[in-house]
């Protein structure tokens, strides 16, 4: 997997670390010379100094052959142009964009960039969720918030503890996608017995999110 990342210093650095741990081949495009040498010293990624929204710079970064482009610049208009050039000029198979203004998620989709994530929305929903309940975290809205992915930490007092999955009546359009037990990730079957020390990854529509949390943890949410 070869990916081009267009991002500022810190974000580029942490993305590099994450992707390189997964053995991705990473190229970073950054338009600040100092940031570039800073990144070059700290990561083994290929660093390209230049404006990622310039066709020439994208080409130098190998856009013709990469598998993915991640546009994570601080300004939405730059990300839009990066994505459009990657798609129209270089035919990159997978293009993902950060949007800063949440309104732009919709706008980008209308302009043909379907794969976006909004940091603002992610953060605000995370914060809301953390405030709600300490046992529930990592709420990720997917598909414009039509689906939420939540991590739930159970206790021995949780109603789900000690029950087999088939005995737990999950509300409609919700499911326990994964059970995290010690270092293992288990995709549960009906016979899987949930323990009080498990963490569960729950996928649900937002309307049934609270009901699902109540059934699993017993805590009323919201």
């Amino acid at each position: 997997m070869h990916i081009i990342i267009v991002a500022e210093r810190k974000l580029a650095y942490f993305l590099c670390r994450t992707f390189q741990a997964k053995k991705y081949d990473v190229t970073v495009i950054n338009r600040n010379r100092e940031d570039c040498s800073w990144l070059a010293r700290r990561t083994s990624a290929t660093i390209v100094f230049g404006d990622g929204s310039s066709p020439q710079v994208l080409q130098d970064a190998g856009a013709e052959t990469v598998d993915a482009v991640l546009a994570a610049a601080p300004r939405d208009e730059d990300n839009l142009v990066i994505c459009q050039l990657a798609e129209m000029k270089f035919h990159v198979p997978r293009i993902i964009s950060l949007v800063n203004d949440p309104d732009n998620e919709q706008v980008f989709r209308q302009l043909g960039i379907a794969d976006t994530f909004s940091i603002t929305l992610l953060l605000s929903s995370l914060i809301e969720q953390r405030v709600d309940s300490v046992g529930i975290s990592n709420l990720i809205p997917v598909a414009e918030g039509k689906i939420t992915v939540t991590e739930v930490r159970l206790t021995d007092k949780s109603p789900a503890a000690g029950k087999a999955m088939s005995e737990i009546q999950m509300p409609e359009n919700s499911l326990v996608a994964c059970v995290l037990r010690e270092d293992q990730a288990i995709v549960p079957r009906g016979t899987t017995v949930i323990s009080g020390s498990d963490r569960l990854i729950v996928i649900s529509v937002p309307q049934n999110h609270s009901a699902a949390m109540r059934i699993l943890t017993g805590e009323p949410v919201e």
Binding site: S53, S54, P55, Q56, R75, D76, E77, D78, L80, V81, Q84, L85, M88, K89, D101, D103, N104, Q106, V107, Q110, L111
Partner: protein
């Protein structure tokens, strides 16, 4: 004689080009809204300018809404930043369905890609370059 239609024009960017066009369109009796992030640029508008000024970032959807872009006959994206212009122009064309959209793009390579996409782009370097080449051509072949 038929009276010319009064146009509603939204101009993103009130620099040298934006303010020049805004003054001109306004003087001809068209209604004009200019948008710029920097309100001091509005000083370049003439005292006869009768349009509206909006201080804000035209890449923000809400600012274009405020400018009633959905009613516009014409949108000009002429800030000094190519990417701002390209985004504003596409939002105007595809989301607000503005029938006439023109964009200034300084980088000729970027211009080509968007021109191929069916967006009316103007690249000042190409316009000036062609004019200069034409003059040079006339000097080289004085008989023509």
């Amino acid at each position: 004689m038929v009276a010319p239609k009064q146009l509603y024009a939204v101009i993103a960017g009130c620099g040298r080009l934006g303010s020049y066009v805004a003054n001109k369109l306004s003087a001809r009796g068209h209604s004009v809204v200019v948008i710029d992030v920097d309100e001091t640029t509005f000083d370049a508008l003439s005292s006869e300018f009768s349009g509206y000024r909006i201080e804000g970032d035209a890449t923000e959807f809400r600012i274009l809404q405020e400018a009633k872009t959905d009613k516009a006959d014409l949108l000009l994206a002429v800030t000094h930043e190519d990417n701002v212009n390209l985004m504003v122009a596409q939002v105007a064309k595809k989301v607000f369905k503005v029938p006439n959209v023109m964009v200034r793009v300084n980088d000729p390579m970027r211009e080509q890609v968007y021109h191929d996409m069916g967006i009316d782009t103007i690249c000042p370097s190409i316009v000036a370059g062609d004019a200069i080449a034409a003059i040079a051509g006339a000097l080289a072949f004085p008989a023509e």
